[in-house]
Structure formats: C-alpha cells, structure tokens
C-alpha cells in the first residue's frame, strides 16, 4: 500500500511559494507517496495568535481542523513554524474538555514538517537529487527550537549529489523575520537581516537554503534589495532538482 499524505500548503506557501509546493509534491511522489490537497484549508491562525489576537485564532483553527478532519495520513507542510503551531498550540487553544479537543489530538498530531517527514517518518535522506553547487544553510528558529530539527535538514542536503554544504556562521541566529515583528520594528528586523546576510556572503556559497517560507521571504527580499548574486532557495527545491531537470533559479 502506498503511503498517503495531506498537503498543508500554509498561507505563505500557497500565496508566495507555489513552486515550493509543486516541488514538495514532486519529491513525495518520487518517493512513492500519494499526495492529497484538502481545499478547505486556509490559514492555521498563527499570525493572529502571535500578534496577540488570540481569540480570533479560534475561527481559523476550527476551519483548519474541519479541512483536515476526514483525511488520513500525515499532514505535511513546507514550514516548521506552521507545523509547530497546529501541533502544539492547538492543544492549548482547545484544552481537554473543549469539544474540539479530541479532534485536535487526532488531527494536529498528524502534522509534520517536510524534512521531519522524510527523515523521521520515511527515514530517507537519499532521493536521487542532484545539485552541483556550493550551498549554505540557515536554521529556521521554529524548526530548530520547537521541533528539534537541528541535523535533519543538513543530512538531507549532504545526501544531495554534487552539493557542497558550506558552514554558515551563526547559523542558528534568527534572520529577523519574526512575523508581525518585522513590520512593527522594521529597523531592528533589517539590522538582524544585515547581520545574517553578512554571514551568508562570508560563507562563499552560491545558494542560501532554508526550510521555512518566512525566512525565505525575508532573506530573499534583502538579497534582492542589495542586488546580491546569491540565490535563495527552499530546501525542498534542492531536493527536487535532479540531473535531467536543469532548474531555473527561483
């Protein structure tokens, strides 16, 4: 029997990074995993929760639960932050005793981040990807600290044929995205990005890779603004690159 997963697109994913989602499906299908996309899904509510509008999160969370209610298999997202949110925060939004609680326990616990799904569920790191470039990796805060994915994304990169993974100084320091933080305090966010970009430049890499759409949006934005030749990519896009697919840069 083929494994089946539900695609959790996430707002940033579906609105800004549809290429990443397409690549996610490509990689999963290559591994023999069947993908489904419940169309009822919208936003998981994290942006509202994190900016303090926590009671407004409930409507969104209920919709999310409804969307994934009658599905089976893991719920795979290209984002550690959104995965963490539904997996951990929904339990707090709907504590024991709340009518939605059993549903949360059943559904939200199926949510996994993409690299987590590959390395911990499927237990694969090798998938025939080919990417003959110098790459450095930025650890996204929520994947790293809330899901504990420290080595997994790098193991996947190291298994890519031709790819040279070069270290990034202060790899685990926040890039300055932080959701609502980046628009409330753009000056601080920019200063944090500048520090990140300096390290990226110093790494000597041609590509900066991360597994979080938020970081990707932030880092790619600043690279674009300063006219840097370094190309930002989601980790999934690298895993989707094969010998015969000559990928255009994103």
């Amino acid at each position: 029997m083929r494994a089946r997963v539900q695609v959790f697109a996430t707002c940033l994913g579906e609105n800004f990074f549809s290429d990443v989602l397409k690549d996610m499906v490509t990689v999963l299908e290559r591994l023999g995993v069947q993908c489904e996309f419940p169309e009822g899904q919208t936003c998981c509510g994290q942006p509202f929760y994190n900016s303090g509008f926590q009671s407004q999160t409930l409507a969104l969370a209920r919709n999310w639960l409804r969307a994934f209610a009658n599905t089976t298999g893991y719920i795979v997202a290209p984002s550690g932050s959104c995965t963490d949110f539904v997996r951990h925060r929904y339990l707090e939004l709907f504590p024991p005793g709340a009518p939605e609680h059993p549903q949360v326990e059943e559904i939200a616990s199926r949510a996994v981040e993409f690299t987590e799904f590959l390395t911990r569920v499927l237990k694969v790191t090798e998938m025939g990807a080919h990417f003959p470039h110098k790459v450095t990796y930025h650890a996204a805060c929520h994947s790293l600290r809330n899901l504990g994915l420290r080595d997994e994304p790098k193991l996947l990169l190291q298994a890519v044929e031709g790819l040279e993974l070069v270290p990034l100084a202060e790899e685990e320091t926040c890039c300055g995205f932080g959701g609502v933080f980046s628009v409330i305090y753009p000056e601080v966010s920019r200063a944090m990005m500048d520090a990140k970009v300096k390290n990226i430049q110093a790494s000597g890499a041609e590509y900066i890779v991360t597994n979080e759409p938020g970081c990707l949006m932030n880092i790619s934005g600043v690279l674009q603004r300063i006219g840097s030749p370094i190309k930002p990519m989601h980790l999934i896009q690298i895993l989707a690159s094969s010998k015969d697919s000559s990928r255009p840069s994103p």
């Binding site: 579906e14 009822g40 509202f48 509008f53 805060c141 601080v188 200063a191 934005g221």
Partner: protein, 510 residues
C-alpha cells in the same frame, strides 16, 4: 539613573540608538556567550540540563510558596539581629531607606550594583534629600557619571567603548586616561577607595535571600559589594520579594547556574554570605543591618499562571547576551531599568501594559532566550501571553489596543476562515498588486505594508497553487474553469455596477 517612564516607545528609542552601540554590545556579549559555552561543556549537556531543571523547580516551588518562605526569612533575619521592612511599592521603599538614612544622619552612601534600586529610582530620592550617593560597581559608576541608567542587567556600561569611557572620565572627573580597561579601572578604584572609607551607609541589592538562615547572598566580581557591606556602619539591602530561596541546598543549585550563565565563570570572584549585623565589636561588618523587601507589582505578576514564571529570574543576563534584538539595539531602547528578553516580559508587568505595550512585541519569538535561561523561564510563552494582554486584555489588565483595530482584525480573521473567500481574496489581491509590481517583486507598497517594504521588497503574490493543483486531474480542471468563470463574472459585474453608478452620477450632473 533612568526615570520611571510614562510611555515606552521602543521604535523611537531604537531609531535613536547611537551607531557604535551594537558593536560594543556584541563584543561583550559574544565573549560572555563563548565563556559560558565553555563552562557548560565542562559540566556536559546532560548534567547542565538537569541542573537547569532543578533550578527551575526550586525557583517555581519558592514562588508558589512565597508567603511561607518570606515569613520564614523575616523570622531568621530578625533572629540574626537584622531589621526587616516591607515595601508595597517604589515610593514606600524609597521612603523607608530615606528614613533610615535620616535617622542615622547619613551624608554619604556607597552602593553596590543593584537592579532593584534602579527599578525604584532610589538614587534620585537620596540625592534629592541631600544624601551623596555613589555607585561603586565599575560599570554602575560609569553610567552614573554618564547620567544614564544601566544598559545591561549584569554589565551596566556594556554600550560604551573604552574610548567613550576615557572621554567621560576626562569630562566629568578631569582625569586624563588612556582608553585601556586596566587603567580606567585603576583610576576608578582610586577615586572609590576614599569614598568607601568616608561612607556612613552601604546599600546593596541581593542575589539571593536564604529563608532557612536569614542570609543575604551577594555575587560580585569586583569586591565592591564586600566593601559596601563591611566598611560603613550601616548596611541597607533592598530586594524584591522574589529573591528568596528556601535553604542552602537550593542556593547551591542556583549558585552553580548563576555565574556560569552570567559571565561564564564557575564561581564569581566574591560570593558574600551576610547574616545580620556584626555580633561583637571585634567583628567586621556594620552595626546595623536592614532588609527592605519590595513588592512593587510582584504579587500581581503571581496572579497569572503563565507570566508568573517571570519571577523565577535570577538576573544572569544570558537572555540579553543571546538575544539578536538586544544585540542590535542595546539596553536603553527598552526604556527603563531591565532590558532584553527579561525586560520585555518584566517591564510590562511592573509598569503596566499601558506604559510598556511595545515591549512584548520587541521580539522575533526566535526562542534563543528560553533555550539559554538557566531557570528555564518560558520567555516566548510569556511574551505571547503579554501580547494578548496588550491586544485583547485579560483578567490582570484591560486591552490597550484601539477597539477599531480589534474589530478590523476580527473581520479579517473571519473572512480568512471561509475557504472560498480566502481563495477569492488571493485572486483579487493578485490583480490589485499590478500597479506596484516590478517583475517578481513589489519594491514599495502603501501604508501599512510599507513597514515591510521599507526593509525589503515583498515577493509578488502568486496565489496560483490551487489552480495548479486542480489542473492535475480532469475533475479539477473542470472545477478550476468554473471558478475562473465565476471570478471573471464577479469582476465584470462589479465593473459594470461601478460604471453604471458613474453614468448615473453624470446624468444627475454631479
């Protein structure tokens, strides 16, 4: 010495940070983090994590039984011959200290480093009453000369360069000093030596107060704390009620955590245990010992189950050192006494969300602070709780955000929870972005989105995933065609309606 502010405007404060500050701060914080990592390595990750858990547990236990341990502490301090005073707020604490000073005709006070006296603005009270008050911790001495407050809870002058300090000495003391750390310290020491001998009263804070023995514990590196508590005939310690620990055994855990987390030392140069005043004339130490126990909002902090853990803090400063926000803005941007992640969670609770509403948002929620905190304070959880307090209000304080904003956000949230509306909004925004679009980017957008684009461009909205997904199957393709037609029909009727209204208006000759 910073005044208790009426409103903290974090963004404005950030904009006025002097350009050399981040580099000075980073230089010091990097050094502390490196030495910390080295001593933690010596202990080993596993034992260190166990120690943190033990630290968390003992602090939480104490905070949950504060009434008991404080009563015990009072009993033991009194038994040792000390005097205990209870202060509800800053004003009361200042009054108590001033009264003690006046009773003893105190003219000169020497102070050891204390964040809590910064919190209550004690120096100003004393100086205004004509009592000369001198900070003797080198860093505090420097910021006192500069006329600012500390910018780090452990390293008050972290924002200054050696050159800046040399300039300050020249300007304020008329001393010509080379910008070298050792020389500057020697100069300050020479100045301070006479002051210790002449002082009538020493004021300190407390790192810990041991309930079981009535002992005040001071952890310092310069020895000035010891001078303040032995040379003057009178010692007054001011401490928050959260500083109490049950016994020497729990103190032992915390003394392992504190210096390692703060400065990367196994032990600080001086760890003083002070139990009451001197007992005989032959002994060293003050004739009188007073302990002022300060509430100043701490019992209110206890009310909320999550934010309560703010009180576990042992003021090591590690969360500041590791915080990317703090490292880029320095401590003064936080507007008052405490800064960095601990400031961002403590200040809104101490001075109220009306004053410090900005601070819980001054974090990217990266979580590095909670990871490093030696007593495992869930700083991110507390930040989120306080954000909710600011925006929606809770049982502790009402909301401070405008009601219109709340209504607007509610409407957006509701709309986004309706799948077809969410999908439609994406398609409409994709059309609406056209005038701002330059290739794959939106380089500048109107307010409020300019807050994003002033720092970096926004990728152009694609919103094409669902369509792409639907195109994978024949049924999906049919569905997608229908949705497309509906969208075009909706847009066409909207355009027709607008056109019709315009024609009507013209006909009426408006």
């Amino acid at each position: 010495m910073s005044a208790i502010p009426t409103h903290i405007d974090f963004r404005r404060n950030v904009q006025s940070v002097e350009p050399q500050v981040p580099a000075s701060v980073r230089k010091a914080t990097t050094r502390f983090l490196d030495t910390r990592a080295a001593v933690v390595d010596v202990i080993g990750q596993e034992s260190w994590q166990a120690l943190r858990q033990a630290g968390h547990d003992v602090r939480l236990h104490t905070i949950n039984h504060l009434d008991y341990y404080l009563a015990r502490l009072e009993e033991e301090v009194t038994r040792a011959g000390g005097h205990v005073h209870w202060a509800r707020d800053a004003q009361e604490a200042n009054r108590i200290v001033l009264e003690i000073a006046q009773e003893h005709r105190v003219k000169r006070v020497v102070k050891a480093k204390s964040m809590v006296t910064e919190e209550i603005g004690l120096n100003r009270t004393l100086v205004d009453a004509g009592v000369q008050t001198l900070e003797t911790d080198l860093g505090e001495y420097i910021v006192q000369l500069a006329g600012t407050g500390p910018s780090h809870i452990m390293v008050p002058a972290i924002h200054l360069t050696k050159e800046g300090i040399a300039d300050l000495f020249r300007e304020k003391l008329g001393l010509d000093a080379l910008p070298e750390a050792a020389r500057l310290a020697a100069l300050a020491r020479a100045q301070l030596r006479q002051e210790f001998l002449a002082a009538d009263m020493g004021i300190t804070g407390a790192n810990f107060l041991v309930a079981e023995t009535g002992t005040l514990v001071l952890v310092t590196n310069e020895g000035n704390g010891r001078m303040c508590t032995t040379l003057p005939p009178l010692h007054v310690a001011v401490a928050g009620i959260d500083k109490v620990v049950p016994d020497l055994e729990s103190l032992n855990v915390l003394l392992k955590l504190l210096p390692r987390s703060a400065t990367g030392q196994k032990m600080s140069a001086y760890t003083a245990f002070i139990t009451g005043p001197r007992r005989t004339e032959e002994e060293n130490g003050p004739k009188e010992f007073h302990l002022v126990l300060l509430d100043n909002g701490r019992t209110i902090i206890l009310q909320d189950e999550i934010t309560r853990e703010t009180l576990l803090c042992i003021r090591c400063g590690a969360c500041l050192n590791v915080c990317p926000v703090y490292n880029h803005v320095g401590g003064h941007a936080y507007g008052f006494a405490y800064s960095g992640p601990i400031g961002a969670i403590l200040l809104p609770q101490l001075v109220g969300t009306k004053v410090a509403a900005d601070l819980p948002f001054a974090s990217s929620l990266c979580g590095a602070c909670a990871d490093i905190c030696p007593v495992k304070i869930p700083i991110v959880e507390i930040l989120l709780r306080l954000r909710r307090r600011v925006v929606e209000g809770d049982t502790v304080e009402p909301a401070v955000s405008p009601a219109t904003l709340r209504l607007g956000v509610q409407m957006v949230a509701r709309a986004m929870s309706i799948p077809w509306l969410y999908d439609l909004a994406g398609q409409l925004l994709r059309i609406a972005q056209a005038p701002f679009r330059r290739g794959a980017w939106l380089p500048s957008l109107p307010p409020p989105l300019n807050r994003w684009t002033m720092a970096r461009p926004l990728p152009a909205l694609r919103a094409d995933w669902r369509a792409a997904w639907r195109r994978r199957t024949p049924e999906g393709r049919t569905r997608q065609r229908r949705i497309r037609i509906a969208l075009v029909a909706a847009l066409a009727s909207a355009a027709a309606y607008v056109g019709w209204r315009l024609i009507q208006r013209q006909d009426r000759g408006e």
